[in-house]
């Protein structure tokens, strides 16, 4: 009697299913790795490079052709220039096609040759800052007037080639970017600001979201309208609401200041986004304002799925409203609250636009992400910006470790 045993390994059906799955995923994997994985690797590469914004355009020879002079004294001028002031360009060659109307009359410059109508030069290496003219004496063929000749000569674009050492691809590495990033107190100030912003922004948005969700967790007329209204801050474009806040809290013409002065809360106008530490508090408040709708929505969805039997039983046992909230609702909401906390924590940590638009990172509001922009574009040191980005990425990996460790059970991932 043969023993029946379950098949081992992958069967043909299973293999076919896996093949289909991978082919369905392939486009996504390809594009995402092209635009996410590759840039991440690039960030690591660049963070070890001494590279500024100006180095992005690799040095190249620049050539301009013109037909000069008149009568018998005609010449073609090639004006050649090295675009870089500090890098040499090697193996520079020029190729140009001359029109029939031009006839060579004198000597060619060194390194140049004319074969038929093709004019070519091999100029070797151009020094940094090289800027010279190559003159080739010519005359016009019979019956050609100067204007048409000029047009014909300048009509064909001359080709120029050269090899230059690009800072992006050469093997020059440095740790200077990192030492600059970690240098002195500045890094710890930035880190402190980031942590303050992230912790208070996240916790604040969660608490306000919880409060708003409790308000709307009952049905009454106008509940739908209020729910839609409370989502406004999240749905509106960040650029619109950020500029509105800047306007509203403007020290000279802001309505908020006028209101506070009128109510007698303050005597002088307050520069909300311009002084420490108020600016940091204000950007955190903005963050809470903008993202409480999100927590509100999630918490409300969870609240509405809690079984009402439980509350009825509690009513029978004589539990008071606060007891019901503390002993029944809160434990039921703990799952969604912790998921929201971790996700919001990560995304607040990553937030860039809000602070950038509100204060531009001034007045003690420079977080890590704003620092990336500041280093890369304001100081024009792309390498240092990339180094900050690497620091952010390292923090992110640490957070996501926690995320998958503690939260994946909740999310079912």
């Amino acid at each position: 009697m043969s023993v029946v045993s379950p098949p081992k390994g992958q069967g043909p059906l299973e293999k076919r299913e896996a093949r289909l799955a991978w082919s369905l995923l392939l486009p996504t994997i390809a594009t995402v790795s092209l635009v996410v994985i590759l840039p991440l690797l690039a960030i690591f590469w660049i963070s070890f490079k001494p590279i500024g914004l100006a180095d992005l355009r690799p040095p190249a020879p620049v050539l301009r052709e013109s037909l000069r002079g008149s009568g018998d004294e005609m010449r073609i001028e090639y004006r050649l220039r090295n675009s870089s002031q500090d890098t040499e360009i090697s193996e520079v060659t020029i190729r140009d096609t001359w029109p029939e109307s031009l006839i060579l009359t004198g000597d060619l410059p060194a390194g140049c040759a004319l074969e038929g109508s093709v004019f070519s030069c091999d100029l070797g290496t151009l020094e940094p800052g090289y800027n010279e003219r190559l003159r080739v004496p010519v005359m016009l063929a019979d019956g050609v007037d100067e204007d048409t000749a000029e047009e014909a000569a300048e009509g064909t674009e001359p080709e120029v080639r050269g090899e230059a050492d690009s800072i992006l691809t050469n093997s020059e590495f440095t740790l200077e970017n990192f030492s600059r990033v970690f240098d002195g107190d500045e890094f710890w100030t930035v880190m402190g600001v980031t942590i303050f912003y992230t912790v208070f922004g996240t916790v604040g948005a969660l608490l306000f979201g919880l409060f708003a969700a409790m308000l709307l967790n009952k049905s009454f007329r106008g509940q739908g309208i209020l729910r839609g209204l409370y989502l406004f801050p999240y749905v509106a474009p960040v650029i619109a609401v950020a500029f509105t806040w800047v306007n509203l809290f403007d020290p000279f013409s802001g309505s908020a200041n006028a209101l506070l002065v009128q109510m007698g809360v303050t005597i002088e106008a307050i520069n909300f986004f311009g002084q420490r530490p108020l600016a940091l508090i204000m950007v955190t408040v903005f963050e809470i304002w903008r993202y409480f709708p999100l927590s509100f929505l999630f918490i409300l969805a969870r609240m509405q799925s809690i079984d009402t039997d439980m509350y009825e039983a509690a009513d029978m046992d004589g539990a008071s409203p606060f007891q019901k909230f503390w002993y029944l609702s809160l434990p039921m909401l703990l799952g969604i609250l912790s998921v929201l906390f971790l996700l919001r924590f990560i995304w607040t940590f990553n937030k860039f636009d809000d602070i950038f638009l509100l204060t531009g990172g001034n007045a003690g509001t420079r977080t890590l992400t704003v620092n990336v922009y500041e280093q890369a574009f304001a100081v024009s040191n792309i390498g240092a910006g990339a180094a900050v980005a690497v620091v952010i990425f390292a923090c992110l990996l640490a957070f996501s470790f926690f995320f998958f460790r503690f939260i994946s059970r909740e999310e079912g991932l």
């Binding site: 799955a21 369905l24 960030i43 500029f243 013409s253 860039f352 792309i382 992110l396």
Partner: protein, 402 residues
């Protein structure tokens, strides 16, 4: 907190706080509406509020209590010695005092519903406080959401010099007629906002289409098909979803500069979907998991292959999810600012958000900036309010990003 369990303690405490909150609310509302000074007076509010709170807990008929409370609030306010101090026209002063008195009377009695003046049970006490907190919550959230949007719209309709004179005066000069919308007109005429709007719309719609084309098959594979690495894949989707844009923006900027894609709309259309594909994939796979597998298996038994099953069974069933994902992706693309700001320099190719950023300069009057903000906000708001049901569903379907 046992001392709170007496009607004559809880009532006046709530009353004092509530009157102050209402006086502040009415003052702010009236200030924004008229531009004249209205302000709450803290001490008088607290004292009068305590009286009002005690009255609300008395054993009298509801109408009489409302009348007494309204009178207590109305008369002193009118003679200038009430919870609200104001300097305005007689009409708005009377209106403000009346509004405060009526709202106070009605809400105070509602808060103190079934709360006797004597000893209270824990239930009665807590319920009164909860009603108070609820009222406060509605006022608070509505105010913080509405005020910025109100200021945004009104600033766009007023001239900068008028606002500098009195930043609180948002009253509109209605006799100006269509000239009120001058800044909008100028934005569309001189600043190309029509083109920007079209570019934004075009880019957002393309982003939605491309995102769906990539994420539907991917999400289906992750949700339904069994293959090795499925778990790792869905985790890495989430991980990618967490990579900050500014980290990617830097290399993308470099790559686009080198390849010449910077400053082109095509470059933007290429890059936006990649930022939204992980979100869409994550949302859709959650929805596909919730669909009954039996229907699809029936389709397979009847001779359809997998791709036909996706096309003929899964997608029609998932239409609501597709709608909410599309809306959400549209919103992300429409609101996107960072990449547009970094990659576009040429004013003829701006998206709307980039165009608004351009208006933020000291040479351009502020009403133009705010008009730009309104133009950028209105389309998403209309879309959102019209399709709110899809939107809220989509937002809760696994997207916590912002």
């Amino acid at each position: 907190m046992s001392f709170l369990r007496f009607g004559y303690v809880t009532g006046p405490t709530i009353g004092a706080l509530w009157l102050f909150i209402l006086a502040t609310t009415v003052s702010i509302t009236m200030s924004f509406a008229t531009g004249d000074p209205f302000r709450p007076s803290l001490v008088i509010s607290l004292v009068l509020g305590a009286v009002v709170g005690a009255v609300a807990a008395m054993e009298m008929s509801k109408k009489i209590r409302i009348a007494i409370i309204a009178a207590v609030a109305f008369l002193p306010t009118l003679v200038g010695f009430g919870p609200m101090v104001m300097e305005s026209t007689a009409f708005s002063q009377g209106f403000a005092a009346l509004a405060l008195a009526l709202v106070l009377g009605w809400s105070m009695v509602a808060i103190m519903k079934e709360v006797p003046i004597g000893p209270l049970t824990r239930h009665e006490m807590e319920e009164a406080w909860i009603r108070f907190l609820t009222g406060f919550g509605y006022i608070f959230f509505t105010a913080i959401v509405l005020i910025p949007f109100y200021v945004m719209v009104m600033t766009s309709l007023k001239s900068q010099s008028a606002l500098l004179q009195n930043p609180l005066d948002f009253s509109l000069e209605l006799d100006k007629g269509w000239a009120l919308f001058r800044s909008y007109h100028e934005l569309f005429r001189d600043f190309n906002f029509g083109t920007y709007m079209w570019t934004s719309f075009f880019v957002s719609v393309l982003t939605v289409i491309i995102t769906l084309a990539f994420s539907i098959p991917g999400a289906y594979a992750v949700a339904r098909l069994r293959f090795r690495g499925q778990k790792a894949f869905s985790r890495s989707v989430l991980l990618i979803y967490m990579v900050p844009m500014i980290v990617l923006a830097l290399p993308i900027y470099i790559a686009f500069s080198i390849t010449g894609l910077r400053n082109t709309v095509i470059g933007i259309v290429l890059i936006y979907p990649v930022t939204t594909i992980p979100v869409a994939l994550y949302m859709l796979q959650g929805y596909f998991r919730g669909l009954p597998a039996e229907v699809e298996e029936a389709g397979l038994m009847d001779g359809l292959n997998r791709l036909q099953v996706i096309w003929k069974i899964t997608l029609p069933l998932a239409l609501p999810a597709l709608a909410s994902v599309s809306l959400y992706v549209f919103m992300i693309a429409w609101n996107e600012f960072l990449l547009a700001f970094m990659l576009l320099d040429d004013p003829s190719k701006f998206t709307l958000t980039r165009g608004v950023a351009m208006l933020n300069s000291s040479e351009i009057p502020r009403e133009h900036l705010m008009a730009g903000a309104v133009i950028a906000t209105v389309p998403v708001m209309v879309l959102f309010l019209g399709l709110e049901k899809f939107m809220t569903k989509g937002l809760t379907a696994g997207s916590v990003k912002g």
